[in-house]
Symmetry: C2
Subunit: 568 residues, 2 copies
């Protein structure tokens, strides 16, 4: 009965069953399906009303079939309600909607369940965080949302808890500690619910942890499998690490993966090696950092992989999302990496199809036929006591973590990019448990800009590109209304014509947008939701260090904006 | 050139002078009057476009002649932009607008100048606050806005600075320390600019300070006069204090006054005595606490006064605003006090005209012909070691500080009320410098509600009343559009038909509204601005202590919402 107003409930309480049922069906389309199950998740791409998974569907397209809001009426889009979290700093989250109930997380690990039509709070959950957390957290107090499944919502916390909350009440059903924040591990991702399991990946490469992906039983929280992203002695790939360097090898897995039910393969992205920027003390390819892993979802076994940047000295955190696309006869995954390339990879075997530049690239001279970068060494190598200037792109990418969208009907990906250059210097650093392990510092970001780029998946060709003054710091949403939505760190939420890139509409939300827009429908009305609130890594890196110095006076924020069409 | 977009400036830079001037006049109506002067302030009631004074005009009516937004089209009101302050806690402020530039202050003493049409930041000023401020601050880190005058905006800070900022750049012109925050003094009010002076009143009665109102030279910041609200030995009224109790007598003056240019009288409200609730150690009438003072604005000399609650044991802080109204032949001031009465007072001499109840009142049996309350003692007296239950209204009022509005054409005041009851107990307490000096505690607020009440100024009769689930915690705005605007702690900003009280429109801002709505016009378009952000005293008192327990899970906020009519 979630999502019904009190008045309706009162009415129901006093009515005959048959009448109740009738009213019920009218008031809440899809009632009876409000407990999220596997069928709903496996068919999420065909469900226009809800948004149940991180990337909307297991292919992570972020494309909605809703078209009530479209290129002809998008100028009529207005805020319908706003919800202020009561917490500032980076709002990396996105609204998850099931049957009229909207779940959103804020900075500092709070979860709110709201009536999607009005913004009225149904419940809140405030996760207690340890006082010394800040000492072991590299990149702000962010979270990317909760996963709804089997009457619960699953929430992964900064202090490495996985918490199952009752979807109707917000009460804790179980709370399991899966890692150790004092070691540098943390969770910032939205968990993935998949066939009875909840799958998560840890953050922490900046502390030289040994990264991992794990699956727990959705009902009990018991561990089912745990796969390290850095192979240990005797495992394939361990020989790609010099000496003992694998022990501190990083390889976080903090972006939610994708799943192909036909192939029964789970694709999960893996980030940068530890230390982030001194490649020489970890000579070798450093598997499986800066890679996408293809895993057996039942066992966690690695079937194959593709690595974007071997032995990376630039902190080109390859953790960016993968979108599963069927392009002609080819089953591929699409991936826009921080290293500046946009990739198409055969998802049946991990073989390289193409890689095209998203931004200026000067750290590599190109990609060889297998997709391996041809390094621009010694010119752009990073050494102790030597400054390497004007590396393009900067460690922010290319593209940052903010997910692109893919319209499967048009075969076009919409990619938010960063056009920045950095100066880097390596530093000698010993690993110490729970301490930052970067082994370099960014001396300077040179002021740059950003673009929203439409790329044809079949060819890698740019269809259109729209430039923003600052880097594009939000996720992207694509809809059958012929629209692409994205935000910028200036605070504007924008709608574009997906064929031409024409800016059709915008609204100033008053703080930078660094989270992801989603769309849903309740009572036959389409809404668009986007969190607003600049902070954390974006605030520090792109603003504080010079990438967008005009935003130095920008304000933090913490609010969810929900838009709908103006009605007379 | 404030308020112009860059593109316009660029165009101007490349144009001939004549053309530039033309464009300029079209783009910014009223250009040339953008330096606020006495003529503008004295005629603020006739200026539809700007909002230059705390209560819009020196009479503090909060009534605007704008009528573009009216009862016929208010349903078309939508947010045009939002600005997030980047600071939480109580947002008690209001938008001041001069010629397209909007000035707003946030919690924690930040000032922002924004383009009123877009919300884009022109400048910000961040006042540094001392680390130990919290020890000496009773009621949250709030501020009520800046006063624009002679090319500056004047900002009164929590640590008792008065800062003059350049209106175009936000640079500090001068910064004077007028009081001592370690003594318990603080500023939360919007200063008043008046004929070459800047007038302020201090907060701090809760610390047993001796309250005062002061005027400084607007150009230099040099003190012109300072009038204590508690008379010293030898001064008239000192005999209304038992023994030495006048020394800690309170009498804060933290709400901006009103001014009658014809009578050349400054009306300034004075709050509760110190200690707040033990009347027995300060027997006597305790002048001039809980009074409105009529002052000579040139000298600060007290001409006359009216006292609402002598020897107050209930913390009925009489600091609420006064509205100057001409009712038939009578020149009156209107005042809705926390003691629960709505007063009309002859403003030529301070004589009582009438007092009518705004809420349930049981602490007094009524008012005598001079307006003095007939106390309900011993039944409702407050003693040591005795609990006095069910005192109505509670110390929040009647009406809290949030200002009412008055439509001078209709002769009707629109009053936001609190309908709460409290249990009180006196406690023995010695005054110590810089420490809270309440001498009592509220044992409990009983859950209550609020009303927006329309009162005919001539008769005191209630024209209509609209009930809200929680107390009404925002200021009120009245317009010639036939509308009254107000917010509630649930976060809704609302518009009412001023004749009937019918709720015509509302928008959920996502955090409680405890500041004041204002309206202005730029480029021929009317806008309505309101800050949103629950916190501080409201959060603590009405929510934390039981007055509105359903709001215990409500979130803090910090944003300015600017609304306008939807345009195709």
């Amino acid at each position: 009965m979630i999502g019904l107003k009190k008045s309706v409930l009162s009415f129901l309480a006093g009515s005959l069953g048959v009448i109740s049922l009738l009213i019920f069906c009218v008031a809440v389309p899809g009632y009876g399906q409000n407990v999220v199950n596997d069928r709903m998740l496996l068919n999420a791409d065909k469900d226009p009303n809800n948004w149940l998974l991180y990337g909307r569907d297991y292919a992570s397209t972020r494309h909605s079939p809703l078209n009530q809001i479209n290129i002809n009426n998008v100028k009529r889009l207005v805020p319908k309600w706003v919800f202020q979290f009561g917490y500032l700093d980076g709002q990396d989250s996105e609204a998850i909607v099931n049957n009229g109930v909207l779940y959103i997380t804020s900075s500092w690990n709070h979860v709110f369940a709201l009536d999607a039509r009005t913004g009225n709070m149904i419940w809140r959950y405030d996760h207690p965080l340890p006082e010394d957390l800040g000492k072991h957290l590299c990149c702000d107090v962010v979270n990317r949302g909760v996963a709804p499944y089997r009457g619960k919502v699953y929430f992964a916390t900064l202090d490495e808890h996985l918490v199952a909350l009752d979807a109707k009440t917000g009460k804790v059903v179980w709370d399991k500690v899966l890692g150790d924040y004092t070691y540098g591990e943390s969770f910032t991702l939205m968990p993935m619910a998949l066939r009875g399991k909840i799958i998560v990946g840890t953050s922490g490469a900046e502390y030289g942890i040994r990264g991992w992906i794990a699956a727990v039983d959705a009902d009990t929280g018991e561990l089912v499998w745990k796969t390290y992203t850095i192979p240990g002695p005797g495992e394939p790939g361990n020989d790609t690490w010099k000496g003992e360097s694998w022990k501190y090898g990083g390889g976080s897995a903090w972006i939610t993966g994708s799943y192909d039910p036909d192939l029964n393969i789970l694709y999960w992205p893996v980030g940068n090696p530890g230390p982030d920027m001194d490649r020489h003390i970890r000579e070798g390819d450093n598997l499986y950092t800066n890679s996408t892993l293809a895993l057996d979802p039942d066992t966690g076994k690695i079937k194959f992989y593709f690595q974007y940047t071997p032995n990376d000295p630039y902190d080109f955190d390859g953790v960016n999302e993968v979108i599963l696309a069927d392009v002609g006869e080819k089953k591929v995954w699409l991936h826009a990496d921080r290293n500046g390339y946009f990739y198409s990879i055969d998802r049946t075997n991990g073989k390289f199809i193409y890689g095209v530049p998203l931004s200026e690239i000067n750290w590599a001279k190109g990609l060889d036929p297998s997709g391996r970068p041809i390094m621009n060494w010694p010119e752009k190598d990073v050494h102790f006591d030597k400054v390497t200037r004007n590396i393009s792109p900067s460690l922010e990418g290319g593209k940052e973590w903010h997910p692109m969208a893919y319209n499967p009907k048009k075969g076009v990906a919409y990619v938010p990019t960063f056009q920045l250059t950095m100066d880097l210097q390596a530093m000698r650093q010993e690993w110490k448990r729970g301490e930052l392990y970067l082994a370099a510092k960014v001396l300077e970001y040179h002021p740059g800009y950003g673009s929203l780029v439409a790329i044809e998946a079949a060819t890698g060709k740019t269809k259109w590109s729209w430039n923003n003054k600052s880097p594009m710091t939000s996720g992207v949403l694509s809809t059958d209304g012929g629209l692409v939505f994205a935000g910028n760190p200036e605070g504007e939420f924008m709608a574009f014509n997906d064929e031409t890139g024409e800016l059709l509409w915008k609204f100033q939300t008053g703080s930078g947008i660094v989270g992801n827009p989603t769309t849903f429908s309740v009572d036959g009305k389409q809404y668009i939701a986007v969190p607003s609130g600049l902070g954390g890594w974006m605030g520090w890196a792109t603003l504080g260090q010079g990438g967008a110095p005009w935003l130095k006076t920008a304000t933090k924020g913490g609010a969810l904006f929900v838009f709908g069409l103006f009605e007379e």
